[in-house]
């Protein structure tokens, strides 16, 4: 929004040039009548020092000129003024030297009318263009909203992990009231969704960390984000933004401060040879960056509440998102009892985390289901868990997906997992879908998640990129 505009003072917007060869001058209100010679004399010389003069007019709109023949000749003989006049393309009316005031006023009025007509037409064209732009903008907005709804409600916001600085041996202690940490981010701010830092040790229950994304010079990128440290065990903790950041890519610094009793210890990363990435702690530079990792999402999209799987969320019935990355690592369950001779599958199978997709890939088999297991997820009163599923390769045969939950440590083999895996959802190649489990008796404590896929009955399992993307957990008295 442009502020500060104000209407011009009367008589300053338009100028009419008047030749000195005319005996009379027109009576005009609201227009600056400027003699030709004065116009030439007052024109700005905007040439380089030492060069011949180059004239320009400043802050004047010349609607036209009333000249006598002699005036026109005089202007033609002044090369710099003539060049400027040619560039400005104002209309010139040649009048008789003895032209009366009335005649001159009439001609001047005609010039003004022509100018006004031109401006009116141009303004009309601008308005037409603006109207079209508004229409397109509205259409685009509507379409965007639809994409957002589809992406957000149907698929869950897709997150990708950006660069990270992995946690290492060194650490930094922050106390309340101190300046805190300033860390340059190794990724741009565009579509930034969240930032993780690594908590080295438990903090006091009333402790809180606040993150502000700062610009070198200029306003902050977003509102500060605060994260409570109550009950948080050591590991990665997340600062999610209310909305994924929009705008052009920019360079940002993460400013982190601590509020509360005692102190908090955050991990630093490997030593950096590049000074730009060295962390500043209370104004002093250390030769290490802060351990951190960043996530991107859909620009402008609001972020749902997130759950960190190390901490059981309150049983308040809210549905929280859990990123695949936060549930890692995944293991593949063996087929048979460990004393059996043959453990494996004849064809290629796997259970992996795909970094670029922020998803688990459980490659199915045509023989029997393949199950990946995510152990020791903390829940308080789990009533529902769901995952976005996706058969990513367009050339794959259909694959069946299932999501199961078992008490932690109870499932060690495929056979044990199968009783927890129902229902199954079949996807065709390229399709997205969801799979879920609901529990009439809420589960508490630690659970294992079971991610199962199957291509039983198909001819081959090639290109079966069966992905489990973002998960939703509902903990609480009300299911769904």
């Amino acid at each position: 929004m442009i502020v500060g505009a104000r209407p011009p003072e009367a008589g300053t917007l338009f100028t009419l040039l008047l030749g000195e060869g005319l005996k009379y001058s027109p009576e005009l209100a609201g227009v600056n009548v400027l003699p030709l010679s004065k116009w030439i004399a007052s024109a700005e010389n905007v040439a380089r020092p030492g060069d011949p003069p180059q004239l320009a007019t400043a802050n004047a709109t010349i609607v036209g000129a009333l000249f006598s023949e002699a005036d026109a000749e005089m202007l033609a003989g002044h090369s710099a003024a003539r060049a400027l006049a040619d560039a400005l393309q104002f209309p010139v009316v040649i009048c008789d030297e003895e032209s009366s005031e009335t005649h001159l006023s009439r001609e001047a009025f005609r010039l003004m009318a022509d100018h006004a007509a031109g401006l009116t037409l141009e303004a009309a064209q601008e308005r037409a263009a603006l109207a079209l732009l508004r229409k397109q903008h509205m259409e685009m907005q509507s379409a965007y909203v639809q994409v957002e709804e589809f992406a957000y409600h149907s698929l869950a916001p897709k997150f990708t992990r950006t660069q990270e600085f992995r946690n290492h041996d060194e650490s930094v202690e922050l106390k309340a009231g101190e300046q805190g940490i300033l860390q340059r981010l190794p990724f741009s701010t565009h579509s930034m969704a969240a930032l993780d830092v690594y908590l080295k040790a438990e903090a006091s229950d009333d402790g809180r960390l606040t993150l502000t994304l700062k610009r070198g010079v200029g306003p902050d990128f977003a509102e500060p984000v605060a994260v409570s440290l109550k009950g948080v065990t050591p590991g990665w903790i997340r600062f999610p933004f209310v909305r994924v950041l929009k705008g052009a890519p920019g360079d940002a610094f993460a400013a982190i401060s601590y509020q509360g009793a005692g102190s908090v210890t955050l991990a630093l990363s490997h030593p950096s040879p590049v000074e730009d990435y060295c962390v500043q702690v209370n104004g002093e530079q250390r030769p290490f960056p802060l351990a951190l990792r960043g996530f991107r999402g859909l620009p402008g999209a609001p972020l749902p509440p997130m759950q960190m799987p190390r901490m059981a969320p309150p049983p308040d019935g809210s549905t929280r998102m859990v990123m695949a990355l936060d549930l890692w690592p995944i293991r593949m369950l063996p087929r048979l009892h460990r004393r059996a001779k043959f453990f494996g599958y004849r064809e290629y199978v796997s259970a992996d985390y795909w970094d670029a997709e922020n998803a688990f890939m459980v490659h199915p088999s045509t023989e029997r289901p393949v199950v990946g297991i995510l152990r020791n997820v903390s829940v308080s009163a789990l009533t529902r868990v769901s995952a976005v599923i996706h058969l990513a390769n367009a050339k794959a045969d259909p694959v069946a997906f299932a999501l199961g939950v078992a008490p932690a440590g109870k499932v060690r083999r495929l056979g044990q997992a199968m009783r927890h895996l129902n229902p199954w959802t079949v996807l065709a190649a390229g399709e997205f879908g969801t799979t879920e489990q609901r529990f009439s008796n809420p589960l508490g404590g630690k659970v294992d998640l079971l991610l199962a896929t199957s291509s039983e009955g198909r001819e081959a399992n090639t290109k079966a990129w069966a992905l489990f993307r973002d998960f939703s957990f509902t903990n609480g008295p009300t299911a769904g």
Binding site: P8, E44, V46, Q54, T61, G218, P249, H270, P273
Partner: protein, 866 residues
Amino acid sequence: MTEAPKIALVVPTYQHSGLVNEAVASALEQVGGPDYVVITVNDGCPSTETRAALGGWAGLYPGKIHALHQANRGLSGARNAGIAYARKNFPALEAIFFLDSDNRLEPHAMALFGKLLESYPKGDWFFPHFDMFGVESTAHNGGPYSVARLANSNQCEAGSLVRMRVFDADIWFDESMKSGYEDWDFWLSASKVGFRGQRVDQSFFRYRKRPESMLAGSHANDTALRERISEKHRWLYARDGIARAVAEEGPYLLVIDLAEGTGSLRYAPDLRPEPLDFEALAAFIYKAVAQPQRHTLPPYVLLARGSAERVLDDAKWGPSYLTHLAQAVVYDNAASMRINPEVEEGNYWFTTEFHTSDRVVSPKLLKERAKERFQTADLVMLHISAFIHMFDARNADQAFSELLQGLRPPECFAYLPEWASPEPASNLLSLWRQFTERMLDTRFSNDHRHRFRTWRADPALVGPRDLPAVLSQNALGGSPLVFERRSEALHVGFVLPIIKFGGVEKCGIALARALRAEGVIPHLFIYGNQNAAHTDWLYEPFETVHLVGNGTLRDWRGPRYLGTKMAPEPPPEIMTSILGPLSGMDAVINAGSAALHHGLGALKRKGITTVSWEHLIETGPYGRSYGTPYLAIAYEGGYDLILTCSKALATWMRGQGVPGPKLLPIPNGPGFPMSGTAISDAIAARRERAPNAAIRVGFLGRMDRQKGLDRYMRIVEACRDLPLEFSITGKAVLDGAELPQIPEDVPLHPAAYELADVEAAFARMDILLMPSRDEGLPLTIMEAQRVGVVPVVSNVGAVPEAIRHEENGFIVSADDVVAETEAVLRRLVADRAELARVSATASADEDRWAANAKAVAAALRERRRD
């Protein structure tokens, strides 16, 4: 109304009547920062929309936005108009930002400008990253500001904040540049007078990138514009301006002592070291690994075992060794050098190897050969890209495997007296491997290092990693010689195909010595022969000495010009190896290198004055004349000046069509130095001889048919009855004719090379006989005259220019040498007073080389191209 703004935004516009509104709107959306004004400039746009748009903005924001309208002058003229208007109307301005009408500013730009002006007082302008919208991309601005890299590509976007002091120094945009690159020209003009840019490490400006702007920079236009830039900025592009800029901006060389694991950054031109311990070295290297296009790097890395880098400390030869290695790295990623402690048979031996790509050799064999080279080397030079790439590897095996793939490292040689090679067990390759393993284990080395890359892409510009290419592209494809340039002194390169004890070499050395007194600094380049005499006085006058020894440079099997064979054009890798080191000279004097003729055009385009120095027209067995003067005529268009050893030769060349003003005869003088005291002592010793002592008659020179040794022996026999003592000093040269029998009573002294031996040779004679069949203007005549030895010489070549008959010597007829020489000897035996008179006159002649040097220095200064 903005009363006293500190910053002006100049927005030139032409044909962007719609987009300019976005630019102006973005300019108005500023939050914080100092007061500013917006000066829009309508550059004579034919569209009324533009006038209406700018006029409308000025009307809405009087005093804040100013609308200038002018006749079309082009983008440079529009910017200049904005500058002129700003200076005149807002005297308190500190800086101007140029916002093209299709670009945008971010709202915090003004706040950032205020901070930059305050925080970087030395920054004369502040340039942005390449943040583009439209065709989206974000690239960084390429590391610290560098004049050397600016010579090859424009690091500074026009959307920069420029302090008023730049305009106050009369640096404005060139309005004759209407086809593009006017901003590049502006930064170069500012750099010329000492202004420097400062990069901004935060986004604040967005550049609209549209497909048609990509097409606008077509290759054809780019080439023409670059040539124009290069012509306009000779201060940088001529000679070695860019190499000196590289040297001024950062270290030229990173030297690593492989055994100790320490390093040093060496700064040109004197290669003074700045030591680094292992930690600092590792940090330096890994910073480059992480962000090779953002951090200043030296163009070369030298790995040394023991203290081998000492070879670089030799003021005269060190630059040559470095140049050889750098030259090899122009075409290959690595080169090796072996140090020899001794010369062989009184000679330095240099066989210069070149990159070869034509022979097909199995990869396995190539690898083995490369390993062998590195095992026996004392020094290895690596291209900086190849070096830092090694530390991208996971382990040493991978690092070496990738480096050695396809590598054919050329081998160079250096000399260091008393160099003791370290034990074979600590050969360079094994030390290198240990060092690499140690580096890969360091705390910086883990896959984490990849996370230290900047999120911005590298720009499509010359970056710090590309400095070797910058150096070679601007050194005629080769490697420049690194030397200290002293104020306004002319640096002149003498190019010779051989350095033994021939007359041509001695003339060059004598002239070089005399030029020093005229404030000219001579350098010696020996292009051709693979060995050079190891005699100090030959090199003493020269600031540096550089040898390129390769048979191709002595190849005379090219076509003929008027009967004289020319040299075929050498392959590019050899041609660039001889031109590159010359690129820093103000003038090059070619005294006999046939291959160099092919590089004259390139040297001249670099602003180097080209000079040929001609000595001798030879005569073939059938009496046909031939020789290098014919080649000078063939290539006359490529030379600015032709020196001749005699007036007669100059006259001959004029007769062949060479314009008079291009010719400068500099008659030869003595070919070896003697101090004034030594000369006086020699003259006094001769005069103190007993009046009736036998007159000593000597022959000094090559014992061959051309020099007339056979005639000398006949003269000896004819004068048997005279009280004369004959002697010969020289070396036998087999020229197809039999060597005449030399009687036992005619002592034969070995050829004299060392100064003391040459002085002794003249000390043992009173008369010098030169019964030659062919000569130019022999140096021996003047050497003899200098110490009072009376020359008796056959009338060939330009001998009359050195001898005034019966005054300072005697000339005998070429048709009757023996008889006339005998007559002269009899006369001098009979009249010892005449011998003494002629001896005294001969020794009183002026120092020719001093006069020659004055004339040459004046001619070079007159022809200097700046």
